[in-house]
């Protein structure tokens, strides 16, 4: 057991009757790491987190914190604190009392607990808020109280269960950065649970993608995005084009995928079956009005713009392309010559074989 790992899960299984909510999950989180578990709702990520916190007990397997098994240790005795999805601040207490609660539970004298709570509030930017009612705070402030309440106890591990879910978009974007900064200043290990891939990608050092009770892939945000291990990861993390077809060995070690329409595209991957799935990121698709500039790409097609999805820097085009059953999605650079393109305009698209990942379906 490496000394530097704060949390180790070993073959953890949780069954509810015959249904396995968490199915043989193992992973380690290093000290000071921001680790995210990303998955759609119902994938078992909340059950997993509740087991780490001590509110559920694994059917089998072991959960270790700094090498010590937590099996049979109740929630209030674990060096783990949780930021709940609803935040679960204590409405019957003031902000200061909320933060001092955990210290009081540990038997820290009242005056010292109050002082430490005030210092912690200052560090999260809530100086002088100690006497306020919890209900009198804004969403972002409540968020900070919930985190301060955990951090004041100096836990080995902070668990965060989609705490940004209830905030509006602008504040959520802001809190993402703030959370990351807080984690860096306190250098505490964070385990963050979310269904929002953008939250996971922005904040995490490493991400585990979870689906149907299992981990599909564990890796850095960059790895997951550029080198997905499974079709689920490829489609769940980030935007992507997805086509079904039949794979066959192609030229130069590439794989040729024959789409139902008969069109053949070139990609990369390890495919044993014939039935396969091909994925291309929208930003990997080159756009041109003149076909000659795409002549070195193995995949070149001609299409017509069917929709312009303007979203500032995230703008994209949907392009009706002969041979593809769904329009091809491509990022539209707002600084390029195509920025003003209109629906119905003819356009050429192309991508490299490396940009297209092929998986067995």
């Amino acid at each position: 057991m490496a000394q530097s790992s704060d949390l180790d899960l070993v073959n953890v299984i949780k069954r509810f009757g015959a249904y396995a909510a968490v199915n043989d999950v193992s992973f380690s989180v290093a000290s000071g790491e921001f680790f995210s578990i990303l998955g759609p709702s119902g994938c078992g990520k909340t059950t997993l987190m509740r087991m780490i916190a001590g509110f559920e007990h694994p059917t089998s397997g072991d959960i270790r914190i700094r090498g010590k098994s937590m099996i049979g240790v109740p929630a209030n005795k674990r060096p783990v604190n949780m930021v709940f999805q609803s935040l679960a601040l204590f409405p019957m207490m003031s902000v200061g009392e909320n933060v001092a609660y955990g210290l009081a539970c540990r038997g820290v004298p009242r005056a010292e607990a109050e002082e430490r709570a005030n210092r912690m509030l200052e560090r999260v930017g809530l100086k002088g808020f100690g006497d306020r009612r919890v209900t009198a705070l804004s969403g972002g402030q409540r968020q900070r109280v919930a985190i301060a309440r955990c951090l004041v106890l100096e836990p080995t591990l902070v668990l965060l269960d989609e705490p940004l879910g209830a905030l509006d978009l602008k504040l959520r974007e802001h809190m993402k950065i703030e959370l990351k900064q807080l984690q860096a200043t306190f250098n505490t290990t964070f385990v963050y649970i979310t269904h929002d891939q953008s939250e996971a990608l922005v904040m995490s050092d490493r991400i585990a993608v979870m689906n149907q009770g299992r981990f599909e892939q564990v890796g850095s945000p960059r790895e997951l995005y550029h080198d997905p291990a499974t079709p689920f990861v490829a489609s769940f993390v980030g935007e992507t084009n997805r086509w079904q077809g039949e794979a066959a060995p192609g030229p130069n070690g590439a794989i040729s995928v024959r789409l139902p329409s008969g069109t053949v595209v070139q990609g990369q991957g390890r495919v044993t079956d014939k039935a396969s799935l091909a994925f291309v990121r929208p930003e990997a698709i080159a756009l041109a009005q003149d076909p000659s500039s795409l002549s070195n790409l193995p995949n070149r097609f001609e299409g017509r713009v069917s929709a312009v999805l303007f979203d500032g820097a995230n703008s994209s085009l949907l392009i009706d392309t002969a041979g593809f059953d769904q329009p091809v999605r491509a990022v539209l650079p707002q600084a390029g010559p195509l920025a003003g393109i209109k629906v119905g305009a003819p356009i050429h698209v192309g991508w490299t074989a490396d940009a297209m990942k092929v998986f067995a379906a």
């Binding site: 916190a53 001590g54 509110f55 109740p74 929630a75 209030n76 005795k77 783990v80 604190n81 949780m82 709940f84 999805q85 609803s86 679960a88 601040l89 204590f90 409405p91 019957m92 207490m93 609660y101 955990g102 009081a104 539970c105 540990r106 309440r149 955990c150 106890l153």
Partner: protein
């Protein structure tokens, strides 16, 4: 503008039943009792204004002792009811689900299907010298002679607690139900023991329900008549008995009226003190009840 008188007439008609109810059944009798209580009889059918009836209360030890005894025992009954009702309400609100929850509430309600008198007679059948419990104690050899369990303070408290339980459970369960499960979990997660979570999170959250239930049970207990009379017998000594005696036996209505006013003041004062002590307002409490 022409609609205005019509609207106020509608409002008046809609309010009329409530005003009549309050006016005829509550305000008017109390005014009458207030007037009665400050009249002294100087000759047959001749009354003058004076506080003699109230003075009588303070000079005759039996009266104010009964009064104090009623107050203390009512507080005791309320406290016992609260302690007994809290775990039951906690179970109904937080553990029981769906049909079980409805079943349990129905079970609490069931005894109220029969009249208070019949329920109290039921306790008498159980507790009297020739009753069920006395018989069973003899049958298993725990007692040689018939045991009289009636006509003592314990029996009175038992009967009153039994009668008040439902009125404590319902507001408590209501208050506890609105407590978010994750708040309780957070209480444990941050290192709280069961006792800490109960003391710092569950009880403060349930406070409006606790106060509402306590007020209801206290009022019902102080004003109860049948239970202390039947289960306490001569030892019952409940203040309502004194009022009854003045009105019905002694036919001294002014004296009875003064006692009635004193009882009203007593319960108001204790309810006020209870609200002040727990820092609750009447408004938030009434919402729970």
């Amino acid at each position: 503008m022409s609609r205005k008188p019509f609207q106020s007439l509608t409002l008046f008609l809609l309010l009329a039943p409530a005003i009549l109810w309050l006016g005829l059944l509550i305000v008017l009798p109390h005014l009458e009792i207030l007037v009665l209580s400050v009249s002294e009889r100087v000759a047959p059918r001749v009354y003058t204004f004076g506080f003699g009836n109230y003075l009588e209360f303070f000079t005759e030890p039996l009266y104010w002792r009964t009064f104090a005894r009623t107050a203390i025992m009512s507080i005791l009954v309320t406290a016992i009811t609260l302690v007994l009702a809290f775990p039951i309400a906690l179970y109904i609100a937080r553990v029981a689900q769906g049909r079980l929850k409805a079943m349990l509430l129905l079970l609490c309600l069931l005894p109220f299907w029969v009249s208070e008198l019949v329920r109290t007679l039921g306790w008498m059948i159980l507790l009297r010298e020739t009753g069920v419990i006395s018989y069973m104690l003899r049958a298993v050899g725990l007692a040689q002679q018939p045991v009289e369990l009636l006509y003592n303070d314990g029996a009175v408290i038992l009967g009153l607690v039994y009668g008040g339980l439902l009125f404590m459970i319902v507001p408590l369960a209501n208050a506890l139900e609105s407590l978010e499960p994750s708040v309780v979990e957070a209480g444990f997660d941050l290192g709280g023991s069961r006792w800490t979570v109960l003391r710092r999170i569950v009880i403060p959250h349930a406070m409006p329900g606790i106060v509402a239930g306590s007020i209801i049970v206290f009022m019902l207990t102080v004003g109860n008549f049948a239970t202390p009379v039947l289960l306490g017998g001569k030892n019952g000594l409940w203040f309502t008995e004194q009022i009854y005696a003045q009105f019905i036996t002694r036919f001294n209505w002014p004296q009875g009226a003064a006692f009635g006013m004193l009882l009203l003041m007593l319960s108001s004062a204790i309810v006020w003190a209870g609200l002040r002590l727990t820092g609750q307002s009447l408004g938030s409490t009434l919402k729970q009840a």
